[in-house]
Symmetry: C2
Subunit: 374 residues, 2 copies
């Protein structure tokens, strides 16, 4: 069933906190073995959500049991609202109740919501237990499970509370993505495209040719996930705590976050990856307007995102997005504008993103006004 | 007023997380200057409790203001119950509300309760802000403010949730201790004595000679606090995350914690340092019973603790402590007994504590039965 030759390994290099990401078909069915090789004696708490539990939990539990690993699940409601103080406390208390120790492990088995929440709980119980990621959404496999950012939302904003806490192992089973909704798959794919756009034009070209294969599964999907993990791992290794280069990962995210804020994080209106897709087009278009890149690149990105089925402009958000000022207000909140200037991820072209400091807020405003008129 | 020559500096060596502890009279009145030299541009949230705020907050606020440091207080109820999820959330939200960034600072201004809570909040807001300790109880100055353990209590036990998070600076003003209750001063002093007992017989001798001077204040008190900080800093530098040697700091704490648990953490019955005092006598007596140390040392410790005014046996707890089994139950819970054996901090004599593995629980039980009968 598993073609072991297809399993790829990406190493995240962080000195004594280094770890492997294994990416392949059915790596879930080797979970027990992989965990044992890293943590021979650990008991496990499996944090998951109702959707993932209904489809995939039994397979994981059976596999761990077969390897003699004691494990029990903590099943939470699905959705962003689960990244709350209340659910954090629920998870922490459940882990303590199981009498797990620092040497035992918390497994995050789900999308980015579960990974962020379970990771923060693992960081906090007894000031730090072992943590393992088994991401089940495309977004989680290529983005949130890599790099150690964990946390919950505050009533005042997303991801404002948390810890930098690295897992000991990440297992990304690409066949598990077959049960993900098409919309969530596409949204996660926006982040895959992002890695090409940041600094890997070759990967971007390959992605343009291989969307159908990636959607179908098999070795193209594995390559897309592994290349994304490798790209993020390299950036994280150089800047674990986001004091510089790691900001590149926010390409498309300043605009994207503003749109998510304006649409009040209602996932029926806009999910994160969709906001990022629109944001990446806007970032290219704004770069072109600032004479940093060619409008042809903007068009190329737009065309590909459309082919994938992602939104590429704000036309679908007319009921929510009313004015440039409204967007600027959210950007100011996100960025804490200093003296009218902003830090922004701009680009010189496909695969040539850069951190621009002191971008005049007035330019952004003028650009958005035009974008909303068109 | 301040005799600057008397200010001592202890460096906690933790690579890129190293920091200074400044100990002396009226260092509080230099707080603004000291903070500026470490964090030139930080705005500050001052977390404190009602008792400390009533007596000392104005002096701190004025001092920061004089240096042009923007600061606002977050005032919490005093007492162990404040180390809760609910107050953690209150503090985190208040910090976010102030729009502080990662480069800004959270100041813990109070005893160990405030230090543990504020430190965990600082670790968690935006995944880690700058943190400064201004400990105001003796226990906080010599113990909890040094070493980076932060956290809150779980309904299931003390300090089960938290982070290892180091401050950028610790300011210990020894004159602030003048307003501490005598009972709290003595309780904190039990931890000072502990450092002598662990590995510094010379310091223990000096303490025996200088209790009156330390109580009074001035240079003896500074020396006692600085030597304690230095002792803890050295151990923490070698074992930040308590994988070995740091356990020595638990001398007297296994018995002490059990007594605190049995008396349900009612501070009118027993405060932490009092439990530690009794625990240290028991640890010496148990070591003597196991032929590891001389009964003369036990007597010497007992005599000194009595002179200081600390409890040295369980006679004051007769209404609560009924049997050896009861104590063993709490020890088992604290330690998670593995196959009938316990890890314990024992001693070969004054200043010669060591980590004993596999101490038979039956021996501890027999010892406690005798101790309760006498
Ligand atoms: N830590 C980081 O670095 C980082 C990076 C990016 C995003 N994030 C966070 O990740 C979260 C978004 O992650 P997400 O998009 O995975 O959301 P999610 O966890 O809510 O998952 C999306 C939906 O897909 C379902 N699902 C997941 N796997 C499935 C599967 N295999 N089959 C069927 N259904 C499945 C989930 O139940 C959920 O309903 C956000 O909270 C975001 O802040 C974190
Ligand atoms: N983090 C660590 O490494 C570590 C180590 C030891 C203890 N602790 C924790 O520390 C806590 C105990 O600390 P504590 O004994 O300082 O308790 P505390 O913070 O409750 O302070 C004791 C009392 O003294 C008052 N007080 C403090 N300073 C004062 C002053 N200058 N003048 C007048 N009143 C003052 C407080 O308001 C409080 O009522 C416990 O929660 C314990 O778990 C942590
Ligand atoms: Zn994203
Ligand atoms: Zn103590």
């Amino acid at each position: 069933m598993t073609d072991r030759n297809l399993t790829e390994k990406v190493k995240v290099e962080l000195a004594d906190r280094s770890y492997d990401i294994l990416i392949g078909e059915h790596v879930l069915l080797g979970a027990g073995k992989h965990i044992k090789s890293v943590l021979p004696d650990a008991k496990c708490a499996i944090v998951t959500d109702e959707n993932v539990a209904a489809i995939h939990l039994e397979a994981l539990l059976e596999n761990l049991k077969a390897e003699g690993i004691e494990a029990a699940p903590i099943i939470l409601p699905a959705g962003e609202a689960t990244k709350s103080y209340a659910h954090l406390q629920t998870v922490i208390e459940a882990i303590i109740e199981m009498r797990l120790e620092r040497g035992d492990a918390v497994i995050a088995f789900g999308g980015g919501v579960i990974g962020d929440l379970a990771g923060f709980a693992a960081a906090s119980v007894r000031r730090g237990m072992n943590f393992i990621q088994i991401p089940t959404s495309l977004l989680a496999q290529v983005d949130s499970s890599v790099g150690g950012k964990t946390g919950i939302n505050s009533p005042q904003g997303k991801n404002l509370v948390g810890a930098f806490y690295q897992p000991r192992l990440v297992l990304a089973d690409t066949t598990v993505l077959d049960t993900l909704s098409e919309r969530e798959f596409r949204a996660g794919f926006a982040e895959v495209i992002k890695y090409g756009l940041i600094n890997d034009a070759g990967f971007y070209n390959w992605l343009e040719q291989n969307w159908d294969g990636i959607k179908k599964g098999g070795k193209e999907r594995i390559h897309a996930v592994a290349t994304s993990c490798r790209a993020k791992a390299a950036i994280v290794a150089r800047d674990e705590r986001e004091s510089g280069e790691r900001a590149l990962l926010n390409l498309g995210h300043t605009f994207g976050h503003a749109l998510e804020g304006i649409t009040k994080y209602q996932s029926d209106v806009l999910v994160h990856g969709e906001g990022v897709a629109i944001g990446m087009v806007l970032a290219h278009a704004f770069s072109a307007r600032m004479n940093q890149s060619s409008p042809d690149d903007t068009q190329r990105v737009k065309t590909y995102l459309e082919k994938v089925g992602l939104p590429t402009d704000m036309s679908g958000l007319r009921n929510h997005v009313k004015s440039a000022n409204q967007i600027m207000d959210f950007i100011a909140q996100d960025k804490k504008v200093s003296r009218g200037n902003l830090n922004f991820i701009l680009t010189h072209g496909i695969g040539q993103a850069y951190i621009a400091k002191n971008v005049p807020a007035a330019e952004v405003h003028a650009f958005l006004t035009e974008a909303l008129e068109s």
